[in-house]
Subunit: 455 residues, 2 copies
């Protein structure tokens, strides 16, 4: 043993073949040959030489598990690698790294656990899996000393997960706030720039392939909520489940809300927010995690993120404000992130990203009722004298103070548009309850929280 | 030897003490207690517990080398660690990681080489050192199997170096284009937004501490050129020296140029650009590296980067467009990047960032004469009939075709403002030579290249 090895404890030795030179040869098993899997296999098959020249790592695709051999063969570059038996891939002793790109919860969960138990490094881009079973999977990775890397699960090609886990590992992060769903950002951008209705923008997004036929996962904020759970987990080094994320979608936003936002100097974005709540008692840390439409000052860097792009804004104590921007979806972009993880795992880097090196901290999740922010809301009322007084009384009763009020429309179309001062969510919700009980109130429209003012 | 270790070759074993648990204890030697060094020591001294809880790494500052013990002691949190002998720090056997924050070329170079030779991991934020002696230092790191990490050398707190070196290690990068000097971006932003002159904006930047008393390193583009060399090196996995970077500064830009840019839908920024030139013969890769003021469409994400902020835009074949944004300077922000590297080195991660794993490729540097882009230039002329014809003839003689021309001012102030179609730099320079030879031409103003049109 050389003196240089004296402190070495082989907690997680690289499972890759290293030749005399610096070349590292790695056998990769791929689960799933969909959008991302297909792009990854093509990327590796066509660029293996260039990747090796650049990184010193030779990636060999050993096996690819597909649902339908026939369909797989039609589009596969490596038909000899195809198998219908995913368990064959995760149990293959010659395979070093397993890439899970099946999506969904099962059989993805079982396969990842099997691969980790077999001591393989695992790369996944499966946000649902991580948001739902993250704790179980990271525990398994910690036990086996294997890396479980997931750059592709949030923000597509944007190298965000590694930035938070490694580069900012020593940073006291205050807040992570992002546009993490391209579909809803495309819809909101179209509504904002082209003044098309929510429904028309959605149909357009569907025709462009940005939105699914059933768009619920995107427009109701489920996709963003899964990513919020993952981001919160890495930003605050905690285990945060999907059920702990407060969630609202964009279905009730209309063009008039966005127009009003513009007049006030705001843009409307669906944001995933994970923030540390500073309290008198620092331990355990209090974390708030939520997804909802928000009004953001047009000068905020996130306000300029248009179309299907994603961006995540990070506020750290020492680092100050950082933003990461890029394509949040698409087979090639996500495959690029998966490839980065693959090379990282191949070099057995990511020690600091490896679970066995992380001591997760216990955190308390702050309920949405405790949120303090400014609120935009619209109240459709009967246009008669005294209405404003009764409406304003309800606000006052619940300690919600009004920063500005404007009546738009007359008669049957009379609508009051309010912006509150800083108020507590629970008080605002109580105000809404009180308003609904008023005879003169016909409808309460989109409640939009105002954020990003501190910049 | 367990089966899991069978392929393990201990090329670069961690030089850190790992206890039974996951806790890793690391002794750090710091060279230099200036702006960044002071912030780093404070960050570690006050947050060691939080950092350990978060990362599993206990950072102990063992020694701090300072130039003046008295001055150091006045502001040091750890007076017992101070020494005037930097060689004592790099030769201390109990020190695992050396952080070089002295700046400049010597003694920084010698100390880093000594530390690497002693098998220590090295973290530096010294862009001059890397741009001038990168090849020598990376060779030394490769030989010793130690990591040489330098996140803080470009873009302050922005986790950019690791993104390019690790996350995008498998990416075919086409172009990296960035605002990497906060001083010049502040000056140009003030000229653009407040319509103040270059001189007034510079004085303001100096009074705010953004610019040095002798601002040459910033305004003439030397600082940006050093960062361009580093960025080009990691983006294209090559060794690119400062002398290979074409460089122009912002001293000749005036408010009327910026006003004209606005009218055409552009913003003027000082850009560091490293790009791959696609040629019929792919090997060796042709790389162009340059720093100059540029007109960027206002819709380009970099155009919105204001004040002292930095941002780097990366275009990859699979990843698509990515942008990294944040504070590019300042003690705390840079210390944040250094801390990330420290924890990375402490976990002995960065295998893929370690030189021994990288096979640097040989590249050819494309000379500036080969650049093909559009050009903005102003020509002050005598206001008399036939002038445009003689000026236009010179453009035509050198194959430079004019996209638009406008005369601003009359009589003695007559100025012709040209935007060319795509043209070759050598031809544009020849055109300038021809124009200077004309009697009717009094002065040729700021030549600004137009970029970012392909988006």
């Amino acid at each position: 043993m050389s003196p240089r090895d004296r402190y070495f404890v082989p907690m997680a030795a690289p499972r890759v073949r290293t030749d005399q030179g610096a070349k590292t040869q790695v056998r990769v098993g791929v689960l799933g040959l969909g959008n991302v899997g297909g792009a990854l296999v093509e990327l590796i098959a066509t660029n293996a030489d260039a990747i090796e020249a650049r990184s010193g790592v030779r990636l060999d695709i050993a096996k690819i598990a597909v649902r339908d051999l026939k369909r797989g063969r039609d589009k596969a570059l490596l038909p000899e690698c195809l198998t219908k038996d995913a368990h064959e891939v995760v149990s293959d002793e010659t395979i070093d790294i397993v890439v899970e790109l099946i999506g969904g919860l099962e059989p993805a969960r079982t396969l990842v656990l099997e691969a980790l138990a077999a001591g393989k490094q695992v790369v996944t881009a499966n946000k649902e899996l991580l948001a739902n079973f993250g704790p179980e999977l990271f525990d398994a990775a910690g036990k086996s000393g294997s890396a479980l890397l997931f750059e592709g699960s949030v923000g597509g090609a944007i190298p965000l997960v590694r930035a938070l886990r490694v580069s900012l590992a020593g940073e006291h992060i205050r807040r992570v706030m992002g546009i993490v769903n391209g579909t809803t950002n495309y819809i909101l951008s179209q509504m904002s720039e082209e003044k098309v209705s929510y429904k028309d923008a959605l149909v357009e997004a569907q025709s462009l392939g940005y939105a699914e036929r059933d768009p619920t996962a995107d427009v109701a904020g489920f996709d963003a909520a899964a990513k919020a759970a993952i981001l919160a987990g890495i930003a605050f080094n905690a285990r945060i489940g999907l059920s702990e994320v407060y969630r609202e979608g964009i279905e009730t936003i209309n063009v008039s809300d966005i127009d009003f936002a513009h007049r006030l100097g705001y843009e409307v974005k669906l944001l995933a927010i994970a923030e540390r709540i500073e309290t008198a008692v620092p331990e355990p840390p209090r974390i708030a995690v939520r997804v909802h439409p928000a009004m953001l000052p047009t000068t905020h860097p996130l306000a300029g993120v248009r179309g299907a792009f994603n961006a995540v804004f990070v506020e750290g104590e020492s680092s100050g404000e950082l933003m990461f921007y890029g394509r949040g979806a698409g087979g090639k972009a996500t495959a690029s992130a998966v490839l980065g993880d693959l090379l990282d795992a191949a070099c057995d880097v990511g020690s600091s990203a490896r679970e066995s090196h992380l001591s997760r901290v216990h955190v308390t999740i702050d309920p949405i009722d405790n949120l303090r922010t400014q609120y935009y809301l619209t109240v459709d009322v009967l246009d008669r004298p005294g209405v404003l007084a009764s409406v304003a009384t309800v606000f006052g009763m619940h300690d919600v103070s009004i920063r500005s009020m404007e009546q738009v429309g007359l008669g049957e179309d009379a609508r009051l548009v309010f912006i509150t001062h800083m108020a507590r969510e629970a008080d605002v919700q109580a105000t809404l309850g009180g308003l609904r009980a008023l005879d003169v109130v016909e409808h309460i429209g989109g409640l939009i929280r105002v954020v990003g003012h501190e910049l």
